[in-house]
Amino acid sequence: MLTQGEPRGIEVAGVRRAFGNVLAVDDISLTARPGEVTALIGPNGSGKTTLLLMLASLLVPDRGTIRIDGHDPVTQPTLVRARIGWMPDGFGTWDALTVREVLETIAAAYRIPPDQARARVSELLQTVHLADLADRRARVLSRGQKQRLGLARALINDPGVLLLDEPASGLDPRSRIELRDVLRSLAAEGKTVLVSSHILTELQEVADRAVIVARGRTIETQQLDGDLVGAALASWRIDSLDPERLQGWLTERSVPARRVGGGLTEVEAAGEENAARLLADLVRDGIRVTAFTPSQGALESAYLAATEDRQ
């Protein structure tokens, strides 16, 4: 399908977009590679959705360049649209149509021949577990089911690049796990997957890299692999039967710590190696520790660190 040597993936360089005097995206640059899941994370109003609209060929950036598989969505929208699957935040459906008809209509809009479309729709309905609701009106779907229909809609043209805006919102736990598996298998097929989300623990398990944006700017790009988890500064929560002694012990050795609710103490340790050593020392000195758990994922820590100045 793709010719050899054609650039693949998403390249965004110095993109800016304002609505009137509201600057939605100030300066975002990112790269999403094929075969990887790239997470786009940031606080509310940081410009994630606007960026995805520009990637989805709906909005022209005021400045900067976007390349989807090497094509510019502004000058070559048709080429881009053939390659992308976009799942908007809050996917709307034609209420009067059945689930199957919604997907078949989209397939027709992609000029997929009817017989091929039928097969593709049935296959996708299985993937997103909506097969038993296929002939019900789209109106009766719950929010989570609508999200799954939105995912099926984004996949109908077998896109090489997926743009998913908050795909996990409204999903029940099982659907989330399934979404994760779907995203991983899409990446394994060599597709470029860009996901924006707030659910960081979820993303940490599925994403290969995270792009953190705040106030319309790229703050940092984080590789999410073993190294990050092993070395990142993370918080650990300690529950002890001797809270006073624990407190004294930590102060003595000037370990950064603070009391949190429920008699728990939170300490910061750079990497798992240091955390393990801290626990060993506590036990050696006879402090009765009943729980020692990471309070945040590595991605969460990175996110919080990057967006600290939110106020």
């Binding site: 060929s57 709906l58 022209v60 976009w86 709307g92 034609w94 009067a96 992609y110």
Partner: protein, 371 residues
């Protein structure tokens, strides 16, 4: 743009309309109202001596257009911004459909529904035709013009639905535009008429105004005390007394402002295929609103001319026409101008709608959401 794309959008629109709205009920009410009007007009006009078909045809067409102007704008006036509000427009825009596919698809779907409304009026037009007095050609021509006018109404609604963010505002604007076309043109014509009305000298061929003064004997009573020999026959002017003379009178130069009238869809439809004026033997004009509109517009177009006014209406060979507007049927029609204007507006509205649906969007109007 492709036929496949237009078809995809049109099919989607029609499916939604047929299932979602109470379309069957609306169509039923529509049918019932036209049936009622037709039956009543048949009842009122039916006369074995007269072909009542012309009246029935006029009344049915008048009503179909009037109701159509009320119903059809609602088919498209919230079409685009309504889709935006439901978050389903962007879903189509990110596919291989072009903006023209979406605009024309929606237009075709709305037009098809308007056509369905027209089709329900067909039985009554057939009835009018069976009653006689109206030719099949006229019925077909006015149906064609009606279809075109309704297409323009659809296009105008569609344009407004791309221009405003809220469906309520576009619906109001669309009905306002209809109001300008239907009432605004007439009001505008009426208000400007006095600007083109002035005192002028016109040539008249008829009995001079001073004829009665010059022939006083005709009205003077016999001198008192004298017995009239025989009853004096009142002296009446004859055709021989008709001369050409000048008269100062007010003249309305409607030929300068007639162009406002054919902008009105009613004038276009009425003037395209007016029923024939009644023959002199019938002595009965019937109730034919569309023909009156047509005749009025044609007379307005003719306006004041330099021709000598013929007022020598005396004698036995003169017979007054049962319809004072009968002559108008011979005048030049005005509807081609109106239809041309409406079609140009419709095409313009469609082009604007297409432009407003173009993605990626560069300038986003206030309050518009994309997805």
């Amino acid at each position: 743009m492709s036929w496949h794309g237009i078809q995809t959008v049109a099919r989607l629109e029609l499916r939604q309309r047929i299932r979602a709205s109470r379309w069957a009920i609306v169509l039923g009410i529509w049918f019932a109202v036209i049936a009622l009007v037709t039956v009543l007009s048949y009842w009122a006009m039916h006369d074995p001596q007269v072909d009542s078909g012309a009246s029935m045809y006029d009344i049915v067409i008048f009503f179909v257009l009037g109701l159509g102007m009320l119903v059809v704008p609602s088919l498209t006036a919230t079409s685009i911004n309504g889709d935006r509000e439901h978050g389903v427009l962007a879903t189509l825009q990110t596919t291989l459909l072009t903006s023209a596919d979406i605009v024309l698809g929606k237009l075709v779907a709305a037009w098809a529904i308007a056509g369905a409304f027209l089709a329900t009026a067909l039985p009554f037009l057939v009835w009018a035709w069976l009653e006689g007095g109206i030719s099949l050609g006229r019925i077909l021509l006015s149906l064609l013009v009606l279809l075109l006018v309704l297409a323009v109404v659809c296009a105008i609604g569609l344009m407004f639905s791309t221009l405003t963010a809220r469906p309520v505002s576009s619906a109001v604007l669309t009905y306002l535009a209809m109001g300008v076309l239907v009432f605004g043109t007439v009001i505008g014509f009426g208000l400007t008429a006095f600007l083109v009305t002035q005192e002028e000298t016109v040539s008249v061929y008829g009995i001079p105004d001073d004829w009665w003064e010059k022939n006083p004997s005709s009205i003077a009573p016999p001198p008192p005390g004298t017995e009239p020999m025989e009853p004096v026959a009142p002296l009446e002017p004859t055709r021989a007394d008709c001369t050409t003379f000048d008269r100062r009178t007010t003249v309305a130069h409607t030929e300068r402002i007639w162009w406002m009238l054919p902008l009105n869809p009613f004038v276009v439809v009425a003037d395209a295929a007016p029923s024939k004026p009644p023959t002199q033997e019938e002595m009965y004009a019937g109730f034919t609103p569309m023909r009156w509109i047509s005749a009025g517009a044609r007379e307005a177009r003719r306006g004041a001319t330099d021709e000598i006014r013929q007022e020598c209406n005396i004698g036995t060979n003169f017979q007054e026409s049962p319809d004072p507007l009968a002559d108008a049927a011979q005048r030049e029609p005005v509807w081609p101008y109106g239809l041309g204007f409406l079609l140009v507006s419709g095409v313009g509205a469609t082009l604007i709608a297409n432009r407003r649906l173009h993605t990626p969007i560069r300038r986003l109007p206030n309050g518009t959401r994309i997805a």
